[in-house]
Symmetry: D2
Subunit: 432 residues, 4 copies
């Protein structure tokens, strides 16, 4: 993210009263007032193309008109706003739609566990399910994985800055190199396999192996199908559940609803959040196969488990985008545009650049966090909100709304390329 | 909670596809469609008085017209729905209002940390803040305390059923008896004091002492002012931060905005959630004194930290109810009514009954979970939603919206008393 | 312990090459060369009466002639020195003697587990046995308990200085106040009981309750029979094993072989070390009832489990001292002498003095660590080795060999009283 | 180890009263009475050549005459048997000898910390030192490493059977593949390097990297010099201490006093036990560079820290064997004999056999635990005590006393080869 800038005037309230933990606002220094589709508008009526999309929480863009209308209707008619986990019509409708449009067509028998409406809470529940279902404690997670910052999930998160925030030992997770971590010629599943097969490896029999198919925060590291399949096989062979954390990569981000759909695997547990509500409303969801649905009533609970407003918009999102393959086809088209732009960006940056990601979560590792931040900062000046990721923030990461009109999409990408060109040019000039 | 009943027909979808972890819906077997003020309406158009109020998440009732209008306006004008932790007008407005109406009048210099929008996430952040601010790991928590079910918060939660769900050792918390736990004649702060003073007690120097002034889930155990003050003193003497978890007892539930306002203490950290959004929308908030605001940018993060819709309604809630002392005075009146009804309920139950709670979170320990559930089940048949709490669910717990009109309030209480009378009478008859 | 003094000359090698962790040598600054019975002799041929006795590891004195002869015979005839846990005649003989003289007369069916030859290793094994036998993790330990400093045992040890040495979170132990910790009028088993009975206390169902009947390192805190019995009952009621750590208080130190013999309890597991070899040789022993003897072959192991030389001397010790009640009767006599001297010591110190301990592990809490160390330091100058204990080293602790001849015993006590008188007198003079 | 056989007669006492945790005695079913040099004698006066040597605790053989005489002299003259960590002449003499003969010639400035007299206790102390010296918690350990079974050390031990005995989560250790673990073509330090360099790897900055240069229990896996050097470099680069656990591989077992002497590394901490006392007496020792000698007085303690009898024999052992290079040269000769025999053994077993180990801790991976146990069982019948190691006990492991006379050495090896031939032949016959 672009470096902090001293707030003045209208931002004083944030500096005075909001915790130092605030972050995005430090890089994108303006006051946002409204948003529609792929555009944000600030209080000076300046408009920005949004290629951050709430970190993939706004895959369908801001204030989608259909979801918006449904939500206004729901509120207007005094629909339930907060319903604990009581039966509500909104939840029933969501469940039916999710079953009909998502689960059945994919042959999935999973049940839905509504956790506190955050990704980290979904991950905590998934880890508990796996531990209780297997009677084991150890969970295998991968280098550069990001699963959240509450204590259970944080143990599975790789990022040292976040881990350091714990203030206490993080337990119960064994770390294994992700796909590509040891270079192209090393299949890291061989390490996993060796450690699981050897009773003296010190890696205790795992309750689960948890992975993201594309590590969004970790730098857009995309696992290959073969690698994921091998991990899935190893999980099965060793009695471990396979958890796919699809919080950032799910909901169409990679081109299909689930990120793993075309990989031929059947995860035992899937965690979702971010875009699952469709509208950016908080929602957390764990999909779990019936045989592993072992938490008793309220054993994992939380007041906001099931956010009724989110059920309303989530239902509309699924009906609108996932009733047939139209949306998927659009995504495939858009992916080509993005892919081309990333090639171009890499070309601008030069030989050190590496293409990252998959589907519509792509980026370029530009070699250093400083350069990536400079490019994003310049882009912001030009009206584009775009962020970095990776362990050193070295990846310029594109997470545009999936619904971004082609013209806007190209425009945003052009801004980014222009910003990159200027920054790289400046560096060359400075070096001469 | 009333026992499970076999779902049929319209509930099939829940049984087929929702996780076994679902709970409230098992006891209140109907399908809720709308809600207004203190009343819920189901799909058969039957109306229920709501004395559960989203477990104190709906202190201002369902769909408060002013919040509702503000939210519809916000959505209608394409206000930001999801803004990460960017600067938004909605957040700015909320911060200003919270500062003006809540913090300044109470002489508080706390900063606001917006965490993932759940109580447990706020608690996790509070525990991290304390551990990082002090460089210590141990956190003192109390018997019967409830602080959430993600792994960090769960270590501080007393309930064995929830703890067992962890599937892994829970660390970093020392447990001390809460006020009244050892009977009336034992001041349990003497135990805390002895253990803190003794370098060989095995209780490591604490980062924080965390308490609820009234333990909502733990059975409406209300700590005395003297006890809380003594704990606060001990925290100060031993270099520990004082964390008040005001998630359930805050937002007016005890008669004042914060539950500890009249206790003459200054907590270093306060956690809020539940009713802080006013409308039942997910929101989590940590108030932390500036000197302890030590988490770096995004060190504790989460996509839904700061729920923009919640900022909108939370601002209205504070303006509407906390701009002057009108609401507090109403609460004092209502407390008398509630207190009288609880006396009456205890009288019906008989000698074993014990009055529990404080302010507008009150109840009666009826001696057994079975009896409490029976009373609540009977009340539900009569049109009242009311729940139990306590380690054996032995407390009938009243958490009516604070805004409940007097007539409705009395009506709900009458239903409860009638239900209790019938149940007790039946037991007597059965015993004869 | 008396304060450090700068080593010179012959002690240089210790300062140069022995770790800073060395401790007793700092207080008793001389070079010991030989020892017999209750006397140590240094390299200047000065003789000291030993009231420390290897912290109760030399209950039968130094170089007991019978054990010494048996050991020399064993070594001379090329008896096994190191036998892993193979069958050896020395182990067989020890087992038979221990069964015949110790277990059978006391109606005990316990089996013997030879662990690595240290107390902490025995405690680690005991904790593992309890956790594996019950499938639970939590172990209840008490304030001021001392059980060793390896990581598992250290979690159960109360002393903050030792705990701080861990450098990592200590897990799996819940701390409860020991007998007398909350003053005379508080029966601390009521706290334990309340927390065990309440499913929401946050104290997880315990695998074991582990206690010393007299806390040697913790300040000679002697539990009453009633208190220990109540703890034993609570353990049984709640499915927890009762572990008595008899490492310091066992082997006759309280007047009987086991410290709990006259308390009418049947511990499930007993840990022994220190004097169990009789000769001061390293030995660790866990007694465990057959139904809890659940560790598989070598599951808990260690190269030095079973120290064959120690088996030789241990057998002689048991045959010599525990074949009939002669020794016990002598101990009863000696206890009276010690008790009288402690009264006298308390009288010298004045009103703040408190009598501590039981049997032949007794002392006086003189009110401050400084005073206690000064008294011990003065006694050392006069030819008596005596140490302090307690969380602030505030207790002058007598751990004379149980075999000390009466004359020597009185002489040592006289030195101590004289030292105390001089120190107290000096303080008075200084204060005037 | 050979399978258990039902005890009868003279072994009843072991079955009746010794814990099920006993192990070696199950495989070598006889009663040993005496031992001298490389031979054990049982109660039927049958003599066995000992190629187990107390798991490398008897590197100088049983009852070495010089150590034996020194120990008898010490005991006879009432030398201190148990001296806590007081200054004693025996300790002083040992320290001086160790400094003169071991440390100075090797240019080592390490200090000696005497821990409880077991290897696991030395490892616990080493881990504490590293954690306290660096203020970090994480310790890197390797697959198949064995460091002991007390809770701290056990976390670093790879063996799943031992780990499972903990009954509680093991924390604070990250596991990395040892040299050769991923096959010949994978330098596993690249994995370690990648994870240490990446701030998002999830591997927290380590306090220490702990390794055995030859993993004795893990299957005689010998690390290459290059690999160890690279690990040492990585430790230095990343601010971690290097701990070499030389408990089994030290004291001449690999041909030099320390196992790493010819590797050009300078470990910050070295743990020793097993043969350090020379005579098989319990002794634990940590060598630590002065700048990391950070434990305070008694911060890590234990009654038997420093076993005075062991000091006596340890001094003799060092004087006798390590005053010049005579012994090392003998070891080099013996290594050739052993190496040849292992080639021969591998030839008998066939293509699946793999040579393991280094120096005088060598063996052959015969492909299965069953086969290895059968060979060892047959050898025992023929008068040779020899054991297996490895995660599946698949390695026939030779740990003969280093002082074994050549003739006896060859004789023992011949028995082993003969046993192997018979077993392999039988299998072939059975298969036909």
């Amino acid at each position: 993210m672009p470096k902090d800038q001293t707030p003045t005037g209208e931002y004083e309230i944030f500096e005075r009263r909001e915790s130092e933990a605030r972050s995005y606002c430090r890089g994108f220094k303006t006051m946002f007032k409204k948003a529609s589709g792929s555009e944000l508008t600030d209080d000076k009526d300046r408009t920005y193309i949004d290629f951050l999309a709430g970190c993939s929480s706004l895959n369908y863009g801001h204030n989608d008109p259909d979801m918006k209308q449904a939500l206004i209707d729901h509120i207007s008619r005094d629909g339930i706003a907060h319903g604990l986990d009581l039966h509500t019509d909104a939840k029933s409708d969501f469940l039916k739609t999710f079953e009909e449009k998502i689960l059945k067509p994919r042959g999935m028998d999973h049940k839905l566990m509504f956790t506190g409406p955050t990704g980290t809470n979904a991950v905590e529940a998934a880890m508990k399910l796996a531990r209780n279902a297997t009677g084991r404690e150890n969970i295998i997670a991968f280098t550069d994985g990001f699963h959240g910052v509450t204590l259970g999930a944080l143990a599975a998160t790789g990022n040292g800055y976040h881990r350091g925030g714990a203030g206490i030992t993080l337990n119960g997770v064994t770390r294994v190199p992700f796909d590509g971590y040891m270079g192209e010629n090393c299949d890291t599943t061989t390490i996993l396999e060796a450690m699981l097969q050897d009773g003296s490896s010190g890696v205790d029999a795992p309750a689960a192996i948890m992975l993201e198919t594309v590590q969004g925060e970790g730098g857009l590291n995309a696992a290959s199908t073969e690698w994921v399949q091998r991990v899935a096989e190893l999980a099965k062979e060793h009695g471990a559940l396979l958890i796919v954390d699809d919080i950032q990569a799910g909901c169409g981000r990679t081109g299909t609803f689930f990120s793993f759909e075309k990989m031929g695997i059947e995860p035992d547990i899937i965690t979702m959040a971010k875009s699952v509500s469709g509208f950016g409303l908080p929602m957390g969801l764990v999909l779990v196969r019936p045989q592993h649905d072992v938490m008793g009533p309220a054993e994992h609970n939380g007041t906001f488990r099931g956010n009724t407003h989110a059920f309303v918009t989530a239902r509309v999102a699924i009906e609108k985008f996932w009733s047939d393959d139209t949306f998927e086809k659009e995504l495939a088209e858009k992916e080509k545009i993005l892919s081309g732009a990333m090639d171009e960006l890499a070309g601008i940056v030069g030989d050190t650049a590496r293409l990252k990601g998959r589907g519509l979560m792509r980026g370029v590792d530009v070699g250093s966090g400083e350069l990536a931040e400079e490019i994003c900062g310049r882009a912001f000046e030009k009206g584009l909100v775009v962020e970095t990721s990776g362990s050193d923030d070295e990846v310029v990461k594109i997470l545009a709304p999936l619904t971004t009109p082609t013209e806007t999409f190209r425009k945003g990408l052009d801004i980014l390329l222009e910003a990159a060109r200027e920054v790289v040019e400046n560096h060359k000039t400075a070096a001469e």
